[in-house]
């Protein structure tokens, strides 16, 4: 029951994160290309392209897919030693890696929440020539992505610990 709920919830947030990040990548491409086209067509370039790109496209692209990456365990791992391990030893290394992931991401996510709360409270913005671009909203992508990754890693670690001996709960 709990496993099924964890599966559904992690799949949903992972998909949502990947879709939002993918959409941001496509929008970023169109935004930058339009800006370049305007520049060479003698029109005014789109205001604050650089600031919007970095805050509202790059930040979600960097952090939101992390949930999906953790769910499918697509991280870069050195397989030299663990590749030859089997059964219990392999499971122990996986549990260690998952707990390390959860701890590190939790630390970053808590820091990200503090920064986001601070930016929200002071209504963080950037002066971009014509207007003030509000950017505090983009601060929340960091804890959303890294925090989601921490939760998924923790859930995976618990499943690995609870799985019957010799079996891995690794999702395909």
């Amino acid at each position: 029951m709990m496993d099924s709920l964890f599966d559904k919830a992690s799949r949903f947030i992972a998909s949502a994160g990947a879709i939002l990040a993918g959409g941001a990548a496509l929008l970023m491409m169109l935004h930058i290309c339009t800006d370049v086209a305007f520049k060479y067509l003698g029109l005014n370039p789109i205001p604050a392209t650089m600031e919007i790109t970095t805050a509202y496209y790059m930040v979600p692209i960097t952090f939101l897919p992390l949930i999906s990456i953790q769910r499918c365990r697509k991280h870069v791992v050195v397989e030299l030693l663990i590749g030859n391990l089997s059964g219990r030893k392999r499971r122990i290394t996986e549990i260690n890696a998952l707990l390390a992931t959860a701890a590190y991401c939790f630390f970053l996510a808590v820091g990200g929440v503090t920064e986001a709360l601070d930016a929200t409270a002071r209504n963080e913005f950037r002066y971009v020539g014509y207007f003030d671009l509000s950017v505090w909203q983009s601060r929340w992508f960091v804890p959303a992505g890294i925090g989601g990754m921490a939760l998924v890693a923790l859930g995976q670690a618990i499943r690995e610990i609870r799985a019957p001996s010799g079996e891995s709960s690794r999702e395909q």
Partner: protein, 435 residues
């Protein structure tokens, strides 16, 4: 315990964490956070962890990475490179080892468009290896040529590794991308010469294949691969001419790849969505490692390790060429165990102060680093491209045979590396004259 000892000890712990299967990004970040807590306390570690991830992502020049990845994914997913091998085969089949040479040049083209060594090895492996095996080629040559030529994507623009190196060392990324062209093309030519030479000496490893295409068919096949040069020249041309910054050129490249796929009736909504998903996931994996690596760099700087090493080098008055040999050996050893992006992100911040003291050109060093990372992709025990090929061929050919075949390509790579070290102008002439 001195801070230097803590810094040096952390490098050993990092290696242990990597070997017991902790993801590279997590091992780097975790060791850094713990190290900073030991050196300075919890508050500085927390402050860095709170601000660094956002500050890292909030960076204009790094926006080139997801855009180049998107371009590569569109090219790969829409099958724009499908006719590449057929064209290369028609033009090279008369040469000794013609199919292997065709695979070499087709892989170079594919790698340049996709920007991914492993995607190239996987895609070209499925197309070219069965054809070479059917023609009676030695399985070692057939598999090794795909694994080795796939690595060319790291040098021939657009290269993600070069973009990240430029950002880390604050070198002009456009100039670095242009600097990779000659060494990349030179590598493909040396590979072709090596294959031909081997086949002339041992004709049994690559029986000659009768030419199927006449001249008209050859030109028609060549015309069919127009998207590739258009795409690459579009990106390089816009950077070189100053029409666009690297990030703008990358976005234009991504849009151009979709336009070409649409023109060839190969663009579907599924292709676009899958490509966007692949691109952002690839970006997030790379950037999470980069965030860990920056934390590690900050920690090592607090420990004083890079400055300590630089001072030692200055005091010992070590000959630059001895250091260069040490640098090459370090990368080759690390390349045998770790992935290229991880190696670069860990080592470049440590080595850069030393190179600056010695007065080395960081553009030249950057291309040497990428070349060494390429070699790491094909050396045992963790030559990633060899593993990709093993995945493609299954149980038919052993990993040992693939690595044996790759020994020839590693020898060719070492020869090219020697040329690039002895004659820096091979790397620097084009970027210095053009930009």
């Amino acid at each position: 315990m001195t801070s230097i000892a803590i810094g040096a000890g952390s490098c050993v712990v990092l290696l242990i964490l990597l070997l017991i299967g902790v993801p590279v990004a997590i091992a780097l970040g975790l060791i850094s956070v713990v190290g900073i807590i030991i050196l300075r306390g919890v508050t500085p570690a927390y402050d860095i962890a709170a601000t660094l991830p956002y500050d890292f992502a909030d960076h204009w020049s790094l926006a080139a990475v997801p855009m180049f990845l998107l371009m590569g994914s569109v090219v790969h997913n829409s099958g724009l490179t499908a006719s590449l091998f057929a064209a290369a085969r028609a033009w090279c089949s008369q040469l000794p080892g013609g199919l292997a040479i065709a695979t070499n040049f087709a892989s170079a083209g594919f790698a340049a468009a996709s920007g991914s060594s492993m995607a190239t090895a996987a895609a070209m492996g499925r197309i070219a290896i069965p054809e070479m095996l059917r023609a009676g080629y030695d399985p070692r040559l057939a598999t090794a040529v795909v694994a080795a030529s796939g690595t060319l994507g790291s040098l021939i623009p657009p290269s993600i590794l070069i973009v990240i190196y430029g950002w880390m060392t604050e070198q002009p990324i456009g100039k670095l991308l242009i600097a990779g062209i000659v060494p990349g093309v030179l590598t493909a030519i040396v590979y072709a010469l090596m294959i031909s030479g081997r086949v002339i000496l041992q004709p049994e490893i690559a029986p000659s294949v009768p030419a199927k295409a006449n001249w008209r068919e050859r030109w028609l096949l060549l015309l069919d691969v127009w998207p590739l040069p258009v795409l690459i020249m579009g990106v390089i041309g816009s950077i070189y001419s100053g029409l666009a910054t690297v990030t703008e050129a990358a976005a234009l490249g991504a849009l151009l790849s979709m336009a070409i796929a649409g023109f060839k009736h190969k663009l579907t909504l599924r292709t676009v969505l899958n490509s966007a998903k692949d691109a952002v996931e690839g970006t997030a994996v790379i950037f999470l490692i980069a965030i860990g690596a920056i934390l590690f760099t900050r920690f090592l700087a607090m420990a004083g390790l890079p400055a300590f090493l630089a001072i030692q080098v200055e005091q010992w008055a070590v000959e630059p060429w001895i250091l260069l040999i040490g640098f090459v050996v370090t990368y080759i050893v690390l390349g045998a165990f770790l992935d290229p992006m991880g190696i670069m992100l860990i080592t470049v911040p440590v080595f850069t102060p030393i190179f600056l003291i010695l007065g080395f050109d960081l553009i030249w060093i950057g291309i040497l680093v990428i070349k060494l990372l390429e070699i790491g992709l094909i050396t045992p025990p963790v030559g990633l491209n060899a593993f990709v090929i093993k995945g493609v061929v299954g149980d038919e050919i052993g990993l040992e045979d693939i690595f044996k075949g790759l020994a020839w390509f590693v020898a060719a790579e070492l020869l090219i590396l020697l040329l690039l070290i002895l004659f820096p102008q091979i790397i620097l002439f084009v970027p210095n004259s053009l930009m």
